[in-house]
C-alpha cells in the first residue's frame, strides 16, 4: 500500500505542476493570438500604465551597433555600446516628464534580432525600434508596425531627400543612410605606382576592365597585400556583394512587386561571372565561403586589403591608421553606364498599441530622435543625412561630400529591404554566392536555384 501510493504520488505531483504551468503559459500565448488585428498588438504588460492619458511608459528598443559610441556632442553619455539609446531616452524624458522610457538594447553581434524576438515572445513588445531597415521589415510583415501616414505633415515628408519617405502606408522613419560602394586604400595604390589607374575625383566611376587592371597592379601576395575580398560565410553585408551586380542591370525585384524575384536574368549572370573572375584570377582573398565582412574590416584596417566593398565609414579608421581613403562606384561594363548604388538605411519604426497615448508618445520620441540625434549618429556611422534641412548641419568630410554627389549622379537601387522575407533573401543570396565560389554551380544554375528558393519563401 505504501509503495503503491508513493509510486503514483510523485508522477501525479509532477503532472499537476506541469499542467498548471503549461496552462499559465498557454493563457499568455492567447493574448498574442488576438494581436493580429490592426492596432490590436499588445504593448506588453510589464508594469506599463494603462491608457489613462496621464502617464505613459514606452519600451524603446534599438540595436547596439558597435560603431555608435562617442557620439559627437554626447561623448560622455555614449562611451559604451548601446548607451546612445539611454542618452536619447534621458533627453526625451527631461523634456517630456509625463513619459517614462525604458530601453532595450538588441545585440548586434548575432546579426539577427534574437534579443528583441525573445522579449516579444515573453510579452515585452516595444513601442519603437531603431535599427537598419532590413531588420524591421519582418515585423511589418507580422502586422506589428504602425503606419505613420497620420502623424506627419506634408512639409515634414517633403523634407526627406529623394522621396525616401512618403505619406502612403509609410511604415518606417528613415534616420540616415549610406550607400554601399567601393572603398579604396589610396596609399597602397600610390605605393604600387598604380594610383593613376583609379577613377578621377570628378567622376568616381570606372569600367570592369579598369577595375581589374587596378586590382592586378596592386596585387602583392608576397608582401601580404590582397587586392580585394569576397565573402559568403554569413548573410552579414551581402549587399556589398550585390553591389557588383547592379551596374550590369540586375534587379532584385520589379518595382514594388515583392512577391517574386527578378534577379534571375542574363544581366545578373554576366555580373556573377564577373565576380567569379575576380576570384579565379587570384585577385580576391582565397576561401570566400569562410570569410565575413569582419575579415574585410580587419584586413582593411591592417592595410593588407586595397579595395573593400562597404559603406563609406572608413574616414576615422584611415586617419588613425595613417592611410588615405577614396570612395568610388562599383565597376560597370563598358557597354553600359555607371550603375546605381544601394542605400543602407537606419530607420525607426513605431509599433502598434491599443493605447493611443503610447503611439502619440512614440511618434514624439521618433521625431525627437530624428531632429536632435540623426546628424551626430550619422557622423559616427559614416552615413549621410536623409533630410534637406539637415544637410547643412552634417559635418561631411571631402570624401563624404563626394559620395553625396556620386549618389546624386547615379541614383539608388533597392534590394527588397521592405520585404518581410528580407532576412531569408540575404541568406539565400549568400548561399547562391557560396555555390558559385566553391564551383558547385555556374552563374546560370546558381540564379535558377536562388529564384526557386527565394520565391518559395516569398510565397510563405
Amino acid at each position: 500500500m505504501k509503495k503503491t501510493y508513493q509510486k503514483w504520488l510523485i508522477p501525479a505531483l509532477c503532472l499537476a505542476m506541469v499542467l498548471a504551468m503549461t496552462a499559465c503559459g498557454g493563457s499568455g500565448n492567447a493574448s498574442k493570438t488576438t494581436g493580429n488585428a490592426p492596432g490590436g498588438a499588445q504593448s506588453g504588460d510589464s508594469g506599463k500604465s494603462a491608457g489613462n492619458g496621464e502617464k505613459v511608459k514606452l519600451l524603446f528598443a534599438g540595436t547596439g551597433f558597435s560603431n555608435i559610441i562617442n557620439v559627437p556632442g554626447h561623448e560622455d553619455a555614449t562611451q559604451n555600446v548601446g548607451d546612445y539609446l539611454k542618452a536619447i531616452a534621458n533627453e526625451f524624458m527631461a523634456e517630456n516628464p509625463h513619459v517614462e522610457v525604458e530601453v532595450l538594447v538588441n545585440n548586434a553581434a548575432s546579426g539577427t534580432t534574437e534579443t528583441l524576438d525573445v522579449e516579444i515572445a515573453s510579452g515585452n513588445v516595444p513601442n519603437l525600434f531603431f535599427s537598419k531597415e532590413a531588420d524591421q521589415s519582418k515585423y511589418m510583415g507580422m502586422g506589428m508596425i504602425q503606419t505613420l501616414d497620420n502623424y506627419f505633415t506634408d512639409e515634414e515628408v517633403t523634407d526627406y531627400i529623394g522621396g525616401i519617405m512618403t505619406n502612403q502606408n509609410e511604415w518606417r522613419m528613415p534616420m540616415f543612410s549610406a550607400p554601399k560602394l567601393i572603398c579604396i586604400n589610396k596609399t597602397l595604390f600610390e605605393n604600387a605606382d598604380a594610383a593613376h589607374l583609379l577613377p578621377s575625383p570628378d567622376d568616381r566611376n570606372w569600367t570592369t576592365d579598369e577595375y581589374m587592371n587596378a586590382l592586378r597592379a596592386v596585387n602583392n601576395p608576397s608582401a601580404g597585400i590582397f587586392p580585394t575580398i569576397l565573402f559568403a560565410k554569413t548573410a552579414s553585408a551581402q549587399e556589398s556583394m550585390m553591389g557588383y551586380l547592379w551596374p550590369f542591370g540586375a534587379r532584385m525585384f520589379s518595382g514594388s512587386d515583392l512577391t517574386k524575384t527578378t534577379l534571375n536574368s542574363p544581366e545578373t549572370a554576366q555580373g556573377l561571372a564577373f565576380v567569379k573572375s575576380i576570384l579565379d584570377e587570384g585577385l580576391a582573398v582565397n576561401g570566400p565561403t569562410a570569410l565575413t565582412d569582419d575579415d574585410m574590416w580587419a584586413m582593411f584596417e591592417n592595410q593588407t586589403l586595397a579595395v573593400a566593398p562597404e559603406l563609406p565609414a572608413f574616414d576615422g579608421m584611415a586617419s588613425s591608421a595613417g592611410f588615405e581613403i577614396y570612395y568610388v562606384n562599383y565597376p560597370h561594363p563598358a557597354d553600359k553606364g555607371p550603375g546605381p548604388l544601394w542605400q543602407f538605411t537606419y530607420a525607426l519604426t513605431v509599433w502598434k498599441s491599443e493605447n493611443p497615448a503610447e503611439v502619440e508618445a512614440s511618434v514624439a520620441l521618433a521625431k525627437f530622435m530624428a531632429d536632435k540625434w540623426a546628424v551626430p549618429l550619422s557622423e559616427v556611422c559614416g552615413a549621410l543625412p536623409v533630410r534637406e534641412s539637415q544637410k547643412a548641419e552634417a559635418n561631411l568630410t571631402g570624401e563624404l561630400q563626394a559620395v553625396v554627389d556620386l549618389v546624386g549622379k547615379v541614383g539608388t537601387v533597392g534590394s527588397g529591404t521592405a520585404s518581410p522575407a528580407y532576412p531569408v533573401l540575404r541568406d539565400t543570396f549568400k548561399d547562391m554566392n557560396a555555390f558559385l565560389f566553391i564551383g558547385e554551380k555556374t552563374p546560370e544554375e546558381a540564379l535558377v536555384w536562388f529564384e526557386e528558393t527565394l520565391n518559395a519563401a516569398l510565397i510563405r
Binding site: C14, V18, T22, N29, G35, N286, T289, D431, F437
Partner: protein
C-alpha cells in the same frame, strides 16, 4: 481516514528527503520538462511571434521537404558516427599512456588535456578559426613549409567536416581522458599481476582484462558523446555558419536559423521535436546494444 493519516505521517517522516529533492525537481520541470512540452505544443502551430494558427502536421511535412533539414540530419548523424568512436578511442589511448606515470606527471597531463573543456566551446572555436584561416592560419603555414598548397579548411565542403571534427575532439577529449584515468584507477592491480604471472602479453591484458572492466565508463562516454554530437551548435555557429551551403549544418544550428533568421518558430519547434526523437532513438539503441552484450 486511516490511510490519509498514514500518508501524512510518512510524508512527515520523509520531509527532509522531499526538502532536498523538490528544488532540483522544480528546476528540472521549469527548464526541461515544461519547455519540452511547450515545444511539442508549438510544433503543431504556425507561430511567428505575432500570430499562432493551428497547422496540424503542416510543420512536419514542410520539414521533411526542406533540403536544409535533410542536410542537418545527415551531418548530425555523420558527426555522431565519426566523433563518438574516434574520441572514445583517442581518449582511451591517451589515458592508458598517462596512467602509469607518477602522480605529479599525471596531474600535469590531466590538467593540460582538460584545459580546453574549461575554456569552453566559444573560445576554442575562435582560436581554431584563426588556426584554419585561409591566409593567416598556422595550419596552412605549416603545410607551406612542406611545399603543400594551402587548404581551404572551412571553405571547402570536402574538408569542412574533418575540420569541425578536429575542433570537437580538441574540446571534448579532455573530460573523457579524466573519466578513463579514473576508471583505470578503479581496476584492481592484482588482476593485472595475476594475468602477467599466467603469461599474458600486454595486449592480452589490455583487451581481456582492462577493456572489459572499463565497460561502464565506455558506455557512459559513448552515450554522452552521442548526446553532445546531437547538440552541436556553438562550434558550427562560429566556425562555419553551417556552410559552405549546409555542408556542416547540424540539427541544433538549423533550429536556431529557422527560429531567429526565418522567424518560423513553429517549424523550429517541429525540428526540435525531431531532434529529441532522433537523439532518444540513437541513445536507446546504443544502450541496448551495450547492455545486450553484457547480458550475453
Amino acid at each position: 481516514m486511516q490511510a490519509l493519516k498514514k500518508v501524512v505521517t510518512n510524508l512527515y517522516k520523509q520531509r527532509w528527503a522531499w526538502f532536498f529533492i523538490i528544488p532540483g525537481y522544480i528546476i528540472f520541470l521549469l527548464f526541461n520538462i515544461i519547455p519540452t512540452l511547450r515545444t511539442v505544443y508549438t510544433s503543431f502551430f504556425d507561430y511567428n511571434l505575432a500570430t499562432m494558427e493551428f497547422a496540424g502536421l503542416g510543420n512536419y511535412i514542410k520539414l521533411f521537404g526542406s533540403q536544409a533539414f535533410r542536410a542537418s540530419v545527415r551531418n548530425t548523424l555523420l558527426f555522431a558516427v565519426i566523433i563518438t568512436p574516434l574520441s572514445t578511442v583517442v581518449s582511451l589511448l591517451i589515458a592508458t599512456t598517462i596512467f602509469p606515470l607518477g602522480n605529479k606527471a599525471q596531474s600535469v597531463y590531466r590538467g593540460a588535456f582538460f584545459l580546453p573543456n574549461v575554456i569552453g566551446g566559444v573560445i576554442i572555436s575562435a582560436i581554431w578559426l584563426w588556426i584554419f584561416h585561409p591566409v593567416y592560419g598556422v595550419l596552412n603555414y605549416v603545410l607551406s613549409l612542406f611545399g603543400v598548397q594551402p587548404l581551404l579548411w572551412l571553405a571547402d565542403s570536402k574538408t569542412v567536416i574533418f575540420s569541425v571534427v578536429l575542433v570537437i575532439m580538441s574540446w571534448t577529449c579532455g573530460s573523457l581522458i579524466i573519466l578513463y584515468v579514473a576508471g583505470l584507477g578503479n581496476i584492481d592491480p592484482c588482476l593485472m599481476e595475476a594475468a602477467k604471472i599466467d603469461g599474458a602479453s600486454p595486449a592480452q591484458v589490455f583487451f581481456r582484462i582492462t577493456l572489459p572492466l572499463l565497460k561502464p565508463v565506455t558506455t557512459f562516454i559513448v552515450t554522452t558523446q552521442l548526446i553532445n554530437c546531437f547538440q552541436l551548435w556553438e562550434v558550427i555557429y562560429l566556425l562555419t555558419d553551417g556552410g559552405p551551403v549546409n555542408a556542416s549544418t547540424t540539427l541544433a544550428f538549423d533550429i536556431y536559423k529557422k527560429a531567429f533568421l526565418l522567424g518560423d518558430y513553429g517549424l523550429a519547434a517541429a525540428e526540435g521535436v525531431m531532434l529529441i526523437v532522433l537523439c532518444a532513438l540513437v541513445s536507446l539503441t546504443t544502450l541496448r546494444m551495450v547492455s545486450g552484450k553484457e547480458e550475453k
